[in-house]
Assembly symmetry: C2
Homo-oligomer: 197 residues x 2
Amino acid sequence: MARPREFDTDDAIRNAMGVFWEKGYQDASLPDLLEGMGLTRGSLYKAFKDKKTLFLLVLEHYEDAAVGAAQARLSDPEIPDGRERILGLFEASAAVALEGDHRGCLLCTAAAGFEMSDPEIAAAVQQGLEGIRAGLETALRASPVHHALDDAARRALANVILTHYIGLRVLARSHLPLGAVETSVQGVARLLEAQAA
Amino acid sequence: MARPREFDTDDAIRNAMGVFWEKGYQDASLPDLLEGMGLTRGSLYKAFKDKKTLFLLVLEHYEDAAVGAAQARLSDPEIPDGRERILGLFEASAAVALEGDHRGCLLCTAAAGFEMSDPEIAAAVQQGLEGIRAGLETALRASPVHHALDDAARRALANVILTHYIGLRVLARSHLPLGAVETSVQGVARLLEAQAA
DNA sequence: AGAGTTCGGAACTGATTGGTACAATACACG
DNA sequence: CGTGTATTGTACCAATCAGTTCCGAACTCT
């Protein structure tokens, strides 16, 4: 009955994700978003209400895309040993950083920022990180060394690996030449070498 | 020759550290700082030039105080086994978080933020984190299991533990009830259990 | 006591923040 | 081919940002 939208909503969210991913929630200004999304103020506020709502949509999309990809890798049946799936995830994370992609992980960056004082954003970030942890637990179930762990122990180990993942992603973002990114895979290997309790 | 300053510079920096620690560099507004430091705009700019310079002084102070305390713990001769020193550091970090102190680590928060695009801030943060790593290496030298490691292997292990430390501190700040803070000590214990290469 | 300086505090600046109001526009439907 | 409706783009808004200016007050030294 009226004029149709000139842009694709999903495209816009994808582009917004790029901006938020690079700059973080607070440091992505509205002009930044408008340029990255290729639309104007009026369109953005009509379609997405406000900056925070847009960010929540972006987090949702990130969870579908990036977290989903990680989960797929962590449950890949073509790699029978779950330990190798986890190592592969860390290798890939380190590799993109070493290739010059210093965006890190959108969720990890958000977790370190002041925007966590907003309960809705905090809930979305928590959900995403729990998705990664769930993927890690799936992989641990497929590890010959760890599959016999009880639920609590498996969850604890997944938490440890998740902590390591966050540290790696923060360091990847920081541009700091500490060498920790390069040796991160050794670290996870070390975590997985240790025998179950 | 003139009117003396009504505040102590070191006190002011300490108070500024409190504000930056809680809110982060970007999110600490000038009114926040003025209130926390108990002085007015004119005084602040006369004494500290600008916000960034003040933050660099705060980072310096943090390195002396917090990083210094960590290093002291990591080289404490009363704990002969360096592994226990490291575990103690993580226990303490987790404990303050579980007691409700969600400030995390000033350096780790800064490392995850956009302020790292400033080279002076990045350099100061790097120096602080390298201080922590140096402390970890010192402790590893006092570990019966690890003291025979060559320099590269010890440094790699220290990097791994540092990565874990950053992840823990970010999670402590995030308020997320992921359970990773509670089990973090297990994680480091796991890292230290593994035999040397 | 008087001269010389520095400090403290408030008013102000220009830029930028996220968000809104509204008019012009372009399309779908009848 | 017009009418109605949703989108678009621009101009605007108040609030806040870091930083500056300036004058009166307070103190030290002679």
